[in-house]
């Protein structure tokens, strides 16, 4: 708010402008006008983060205006226009993330987790993703059944010593947290070199699921969900395979769309049904561009064409390591009845991930707002926390995995100093004002170069509006929900979250 606006708003609030003849006020000249204090409370809660961190999820308040709203820069909320219902926002609680968290002092960890996950006193992260077995941010390669035969199924030590304790701590802070599970690979004894030769395949990477184990692998998912439940952890959703078109990484398994269709139809879906589990299943879980494999284009929509497989699926999940987010719209338009969720994106050396100035608004536009504006019900970024090692890299990471990744939050070698990166900010800006089960609603009116925004109506009938300004200029606007209106400033290169009732 510039000084003019402060003055006029103050005068308006003082209620002195009630007659058409002029009210008069005289002010003697001053060299340094008194600083205007930000109000400590008000009608609209505001969180602001600037790319230079001069505002760092800084809270402020705005009061509703009492004037007629004639602002030509008005963003109108259109609650009658409804889009998807939101599941939540969060990050992956990988083995590495949990390892780092467990190395922190318990009180430091508690404070961080409360700040991150508390819906009332923190930023309310609400949806996380964990691996079924290992991921490429684990402490080793493993599955929950490395010895042949499902009777050998057991949670790993990484699960028991790191992931489950951390999840329990988070659930104590945010009991309504949603958790998605994803395998990086099936147990090696279920893998073959290819589907024509069907030769045993002992590698953690690549290989394909032997069709004769579709039923067993479905049971493997059920056992894992039940084992987590036994530990007090409810699994909300799963994907059949992380990055099914990626044969590399430290652990992986190739699963083309026809295989995933058949596995969902003949293994995973029936197993979940038999077990009475209503765990949501999202197909694909990979890049917008299908890794440029022509025969894998439109991977999930091809699976949906099989009515039996479609019956077991809730939608599809996407990553953004290739292609463009507009693919989400293409998939939604092709199959509007199926959900979409965004499940992985990372920062690292390749995208100048520690430079908030280059990342904040880009990640707001491409990930937080960009995917939600294209029908995603949830947005989950990659590792919540990575730790710096003696080589200046962040992990722990696995050989063949990502040695150049950064976490949403990075912690120093002494596990004492945290650095919040763009992915932490973009999730916090969503989850702090958009409650689970909020409905994305329409907007109309003001637009400006660099300005992106998304509006929601929360289950408690409060409104949320999240804005990003990638331009070098502050953008001023008025927000109008039909009953109230108020001015908002979106600083240059910043993210702003608003919530009001």
């Amino acid at each position: 708010m510039n000084s003019r606006h402060v003055i006029i708003a103050t005068l308006l609030a003082a209620g002195i402008m009630t007659v058409s003849c002029g009210d008069e006020k005289t002010t003697p000249g001053e060299q340094n006008p008194p600083a205007v204090e930000e109000p400590a409370t008000g009608d609209v809660r505001v969180l602001t983060t600037t790319a230079n961190r001069s505002k760092d999820l800084t809270e402020s308040w705005i009061d509703f205006s009492s004037t007629d709203n004639m602002s030509p820069s008005t963003i109108h909320m259109v609650p009658s226009e409804e889009f998807q219902t939101m599941d939540g926002f969060g990050a992956a609680i990988t083995g590495s993330t949990c390892y780092n968290l467990m190395r922190m002092k318990p009180e430091d960890r508690k404070e961080f987790l409360e700040t991150t996950f508390s819906p009332s006193d923190g930023y309310g992260f609400s949806y996380v993703r964990i691996s079924i077995g290992c991921s490429d941010f684990s402490l080793s390669e493993f599955t929950c059944c490395d010895k042949e035969g499902l009777e050998n199924f057991a949670l790993s030590s990484e699960d028991k010593d790191y992931v489950i304790p951390v999840l329990k701590e988070i659930l104590a802070i945010n009991p309504s947290l949603k958790i998605m599970g994803t395998p990086w690979t099936a147990p090696r004894w279920m893998k073959v070199n290819n589907l024509s030769e069907l030769k045993p395949y002992e590698s953690w990477t690549s290989g394909q699921l032997n069709p004769k184990y579709y039923a067993d692998y479905g049971e493997y998912f059920v056992k894992w969900i039940q084992a987590m439940k036994d530990n007090g952890i409810t699994i909300y959703s799963v994907t059949p395979q992380n990055e099914p078109l990626n044969r590399g990484n430290s652990a992986s398994m190739y699963m083309g769309w026809e295989e995933e269709r058949d596995f969902v139809k003949n293994g995973l879906g029936p197993a979940l049904k038999r077990a009475g589990l209503d765990t949501k299943v999202y197909a694909f879980d990979h890049n917008y561009n299908y890794d440029n494999m022509a025969d894998q284009k439109s991977y999930p929509t091809k699976i949906y064409q099989d009515a039996e497989a479609r019956e077991y699926l809730d939608g599809a999940a996407y990553h953004n390591y290739g292609g463009d987010k507009d693919e989400l719209t293409v998939v939604h338009n092709a199959t509007p009845g199926m959900d979409l969720v965004f499940t992985e994106t990372s920062i690292g050396t390749w995208n100048d991930g520690h430079n908030l100035d280059s990342r904040l608004t880009d990640d707001m536009e491409q990930v937080a707002l960009g995917t939600v504006n294209r029908w995603c019900k949830g947005v989950i970024v990659w590792n919540l926390m990575l730790g710096e090692d003696s080589n200046g890299r962040y992990g722990p990471y696995r050989p063949g995995g990502c040695s150049t990744c950064y976490g949403a939050v990075d912690i120093n070698r002494n596990y004492t100093t945290l650095t919040r990166n763009s992915h932490y900010y973009i999730i916090a800006h969503m989850s702090s004002v958009v409650q689970p089960d909020a409905v994305r609603i329409g907007t109309k009116g003001f637009t400006a170069k660099g300005l992106t925004y998304t509006a929601f109506r929360n289950p408690d009938n409060s409104y949320a509006l999240v804005l990003s300004n990638s331009s070098a200029e502050e953008i001023k606007a008025t927000v109008d929900d039909g009953s109230h209106h108020f001015p908002v400033s979106v600083p240059a290169r910043s993210a702003v979250s608003l919530a009001w009732k």
């Binding site: 006029i8 402008m17 058409s20 009210d23 005289t26 205006s65 030509p72």
Partner: protein, 668 residues
């Protein structure tokens, strides 16, 4: 805070740094304004202690500063007048704005006054649409904030909308176009467009600033660029099976779809049916079809020696979308055969519709013009229907002809293929009969009488009509787009009423959707051509050059059976009215050639009885324009040219009997 501020106020003193005591007395009607006004105010500004600096006027819409003005105040005690613009934005409701006037002295001491200004939308009685060509159209007020004008417009009407100044503080506001929005003061013209010329409504809302129409023709979102009034084009890379979504094409259901290039789907989309490549698609909104040809770079493709490229057809007896647009030997109208492979091409024709059934004379070319062509030595016909001329077999070299005794079937579908797999000097043509085209008639009714048609384009009916009666069409909504023979029909541009002008009787009325015209011919009750009766009533028929209808592009010539039937507008009185125009490039209504006429009047549609030399007495100033030769031919008088663009009327009056007929030509 206000009290605190007041407590800080101090009286004047002699100190150089004294704050001073600026005082304003404001006059002016500041309580009300319209969007777009300039709100006038006068301030008597004074400060007995410190020199004054400025008066700052600021207008706020809600919390947002939207307008400001600064006035220098050099003399204490003087009156200063100013105006501050009340901006006019889209979608801003009427409401209370805030005007703040601040007087400041050179020691930065200020005094300010706040005014609540009720701002409302101006209620214009009418607006003016001003085109780039300088034409003005009044946009009538239809409702609060809604204005429109309905006229016969060109396909695109570029211009600005002018709102008049309202009240003493009002300003004339000119709405232009910027960043795809209509805005006050924008420099660009508003590109209203309807896709096709004709009668349509241009509208504008002074609250939302929304206008219409903005019909943009596009294929898969790719906008077509206008070539002229009725044609637009887009270049696309297409492969067989690609689906094209057409948008903005007027009356698209009536369009002829070339089956070699497209298959029309139930949802209105088109599936590309030819071989992959770059193509130019030209939408012709007048003739309602897509002309498609292959491209090489950005130019029409040519045929290569090895058979790749594009094959073209030029000549008589073939045309798209129908034979009424026959190619002839006008090379610019060449038809590009649809490639079905690298070196194979196809053209599907329908007897009586796109190919003549009894005589053809066209050939294959290697470009849209003269140059490479397939001769009889290059081309072998594998068809028993169509042969290839060699120059020695009674047909020009390379020209295709119907074999002896062959008459193509009306509505019969024939696929002509050209196989150039072995190169252009070893070409093979086949012609396959594919059965009869199913014709789904789209009936049109005139005065509740169903008109007959065989192509949903040309409709006609023999109907009894009374002079000065109204004609009504059903299942046809394009009456505002038609050209009406002015001696047969009167058309009211405002109401759309069509009045029949000639004497009562039977007429064969023809509605040509393709050329957008309505014409009539006097007939007997059985539909046969009327002839001139002994009492001078009936019909007079005109043949010759320098006269034509609806333009010089269709001169009557000396083809018996295709003579023009003059309208009998009163018993025994016949009229032919038209503008004088050039032989080439004439427009509808140019029915006299300005520099040459040689025509004759007949008693029937063809040779036989005629008005010979001296049988019609020229009256008035006719002899200054026309002369009658001894053989009865009527020509322009020696050294005379008609005035281009002027309207002339030729009247033959036989009301006193055929032997006492008169001929009159006058400029109207």
């Amino acid at each position: 805070m206000l009290l605190g501020a007041a407590a800080l106020f101090s009286a004047c003193n002699d100190d150089e740094l004294a704050p001073g005591n600026p005082v304003m007395n404001v006059t002016g009607n500041l309580g009300q304004a319209c969007f777009g006004d300039s709100l006038a105010f006068t301030v008597n500004a004074s400060d007995p202690e410190v020199p004054l600096s400025t008066i700052h006027a600021e207008l706020y819409f809600g919390d947002e500063l939207v307008s400001e003005e600064v006035i220098r105040t050099k003399v204490s005690g003087a009156d200063y007048s100013g105006k501050i613009l009340v901006p006019y934005y889209a979608n801003i409701p009427d409401g209370k704005a805030t005007l703040r006037l601040t007087l400041q002295n050179i020691h930065f001491t200020t005094t300010e006054q706040l005014y609540e200004v009720s701002v409302t939308h101006p209620d214009y009685p009418q607006l003016t649409f001003l085109t780039e060509d300088g034409e003005e159209y009044v946009m009538q007020r239809d409702a609060r904030n809604e204005y429109s004008v309905t006229q016969r417009f060109a396909a695109e009407m570029r211009g600005k909308i002018v709102a008049p100044a309202m009240g003493e503080n009002g300003n004339e506001i000119v709405f232009g176009y910027e960043n795809s929005e209509i805005k006050p003061g924008a420099d660009g013209s508003i590109p209203f467009s309807n896709g096709a010329p004709g009668r349509y409504t241009i509208s504008f809302n002074t609250f939302t600033f929304e206008g219409s129409p903005f019909v943009v023709m596009s294929l898969n979102g790719q906008q077509l660029e206008a070539i002229d009034e009725t044609t637009s084009a887009v270049d696309m890379n297409l492969a067989k099976g690609d689906v094209l979504i057409p948008e903005g094409f007027p009356d698209f259901n009536d369009w002829w779809i070339n089956p070699d290039y497209f298959v029309k789907n139930a949802d209105g989309s088109l599936t590309f049916n030819a071989y992959q490549g770059n193509y130019r698609i030209i939408a012709d909104t007048k003739m309602q079809y897509f002309r498609v040809y292959k491209l090489m770079g950005s130019d029409p493709a040519t045929l290569n020696e090895d058979g790749t490229g594009a094959a073209w057809i030029i000549g008589d007896g073939i045309g798209h979308p129908s034979l009424s647009n026959a190619v002839g030997w006008t090379t610019e109208k060449a038809l590009c055969m649809a490639p079905t492979g690298e070196k194979t091409y196809q053209m599907t024709v329908v007897g009586g519709k796109t190919v003549a059934v009894d005589a053809i004379n066209f050939k294959f070319f290697g470009q849209m013009g003269w140059g490479v062509e397939l001769t009889g030595a290059d081309l072998v016909s594998k068809s028993s229907l169509i042969g290839v001329g060699t120059g020695d077999n009674g047909h020009d070299n390379g020209n295709l002809f119907l074999e002896d005794g062959v008459v193509l079937q009306d509505n019969g579908v024939y696929v002509i293929t050209l196989d150039l797999t072995q190169g252009i000097h070893d070409a093979i043509m086949t012609v396959d009969f594919k059965g009869e085209q199913q014709f789904e008639e789209k009936p049109v009714y005139l005065n509740n009488q169903k008109m007959s048609t065989s192509d949903n384009s040309l409709y006609s009916t023999v109907i009894k009509l009374d002079q000065n009666s109204q004609l009504t069409f059903r299942e046809f909504s394009g009456v505002f787009d038609l050209w009406y023979d002015p001696d047969y029909f009167g058309f009211n541009e405002d109401t759309g009423d069509i009045t029949f002008l000639p004497v009562s009787g039977y007429y064969n009325v023809t509605l040509d959707k393709l050329s957008s015209s309505l014409t009539a011919v006097r007939v007997n009750a059985d539909g046969s051509d009327m002839t001139l009766q002994d009492n001078g009533s009936g019909a007079i028929w005109m043949m010759g050059w320098g006269v034509g209808s609806p333009s010089m592009n269709k001169q009557f010539g000396w083809d018996a059976g295709r003579a023009y039937c003059m309208a009998e507008t009163a018993p025994g009185v016949y009229r032919f009215t038209g503008k004088a125009g050039p032989e080439n490039g004439s427009s509808y209504g140019d029915r006299f050639r300005f520099d040459y006429i040689s025509m004759k009047l007949f008693h029937q549609n063809g040779w036989g009885g005629e008005f010979g030399g001296g049988t019609l007495k020229m009256t008035g100033g006719t002899s200054a324009l026309l002369k009658q030769n001894a053989d009865g031919n009527i020509e322009l008088a020696d050294g005379v040219q008609l005035e281009q663009g002027a309207t002339y009327r030729l009247t033959v009056d036989l009301s006193k009997g055929i032997s006492s007929g008169t001929l009159n030509m006058e400029k109207l």
